[in-house]
């Protein structure tokens, strides 16, 4: 992998990770007030808002720009397809934990609503699509000593492939709200 590409990808991930965190934190009036009052000092490092430590289910509500719904659905179709094909059983289980539905309401307010039910939510992996594309499902780097390149493992992305998918995701959402749940019976 070219160094410039690596740096570019890292910057992109950092920016988006902060962007996602800011989106979720900015969406929380309570947290914003606490921070302003100095009661909840900002952590030194932004946490990934789509990586969960909670054992159980999580619902994520995504508000997507109406003109970008096809892109958003395409991104998750691609990611779920890769997870299903991956050789790692834990990643296949991660893919199976994601149920994606679209709310049957006309677009309005923050956008078209999608509901992800993560059941059970993984505590090992992030559901941040950028982390999934550029880290979790990253294809192994080619061996520079190899005379013939090894075939890319199924269910992984090269940097260029991940970048193509990322372009569809980038800027497609208005709001993301993760919502931890506890199952009752059934």
């Amino acid at each position: 992998m070219k160094l410039s590409s690596s740096l570019s990808a890292l910057r992109r991930q950092a920016v988006l990770a902060v962007g996602l965190a800011a989106l979720v934190c900015a969406a929380s009036g309570v947290k914003a007030q606490d921070a302003a009052a100095g009661q909840d000092p900002a952590p030194a490092q932004q946490q990934d808002p789509l990586k969960f430590s909670h054992n159980g289910e999580v619902m994520i509500l995504w508000a997507i720009k109406p003109e970008r719904t096809a892109d958003f659905e395409s991104v998750w179709t691609t990611i779920k397809g890769a997870l299903a094909q991956n050789a790692d059983a834990n990643l296949r289980a991660l893919g199976q934990s994601i149920k994606i539905s679209k709310v049957d309401l006309p677009a309005g307010g923050p956008g078209v609503l999608y509901v992800f039910l993560l059941s059970p939510a993984s505590t090992q992996y992030s559901y941040n699509p950028v982390t999934l594309l550029f880290e979790t499902l990253k294809a192994p780097d080619a061996d520079p000593a190899a005379t013939t390149p090894a075939p890319k493992p199924a269910g992984t992305f090269t940097y260029d492939e991940a970048q193509e998918v990322f372009k569809k995701f980038d800027g497609s959402y208005n709001q993301i709200n993760p919502w931890p749940l506890k199952g009752l019976g059934m």
């Binding site: 979720v24 900015a26 969406a27 929380s28 009036g29 309570v30 947290k31 909670h54 289910e57 619902m59 509500l61 508000a63 659905e73 998750w76 179709t77 779920k80 994601i98 149920k99 994606i100 539905s101 679209k102 709310v103 049957d104 309401l105 006309p106 677009a107 309005g108 307010g109 923050p110 956008g111 609503l113 999608y114 509901v115 039910l117 208005n174 709001q175 709200n177 919502w179 931890p180 749940l181 506890k182 199952g183 009752l184 019976g185 059934m186």
Partner: protein
């Protein structure tokens, strides 16, 4: 009676994260209107007004679609519950859960397979419970009071009274499965 309340479904987003429903940077637009429900009384408990002097035939009211059905094949119900009634609400859900699990009614048994109940772990003024139906039986009603009436007819009046005391409002979301 199920009086509609003018509460946008995007209040859900606000409740979920204490967030403004519409980000300041987003152009203002009309929010989608939710179907806001209130639990109806069991059939046996519904008052029937009768006027013996009235002889004119009264045309039947047009059939109202059951807002607790999910013809799209999946859906959710959100119950906003008074915190001081949360334990009682969960006790009623436990009775519903047990009755659905034990039912020999084929239609209710089909519903039970994918009828999932959750409690939100977020802290708010009201406790929020989520029913998730995926897949939903398209022509079946997921009205919990109707289900209790079918499954536990001897208990339904008491259970309905407890639900009514606990629930502030109910919202529905029809869903279309993407992946």
């Amino acid at each position: 009676m199920r009086p509609p309340l003018a509460i946008p479904i995007l209040a859900l987003l606000s409740v979920a994260s204490a967030a403004p429903a519409v980000p300041a940077s987003h152009p203002a637009g009309p929010p989608p209107q939710p179907v806001v429900l209130a639990p109806g009384p069991p059939a046996a408990g519904r008052p029937v007004r009768q006027d013996p002097a009235r002889q004119d035939p009264v045309p039947p009211a047009p059939a109202q679609p059951d807002a607790y059905q999910f013809p799209s094949g999946a859906g959710m119900l959100f119950f906003y519950v008074r915190p001081d009634h949360a334990a009682d609400f969960e006790a009623v859900l436990a009775r519903l859960d047990a009755a659905l699990s034990a039912t020999t009614d084929p239609a209710r048994a089909r519903q039970a397979v994918s009828w999932r109940m959750f409690r939100s772990l977020e802290s708010h003024d009201e406790r929020i419970y989520v029913f998730f139906f995926d897949p939903a039986v398209p022509d079946a009603s997921y009205d919990p009071v109707k289900a209790l009436g079918d499954l536990l007819p001897d208990e339904v009046q008491d259970l309905y009274a407890r639900l009514k005391a606990a629930i502030v409002r109910v919202e529905r979301m029809g869903l279309s499965r993407i992946r």
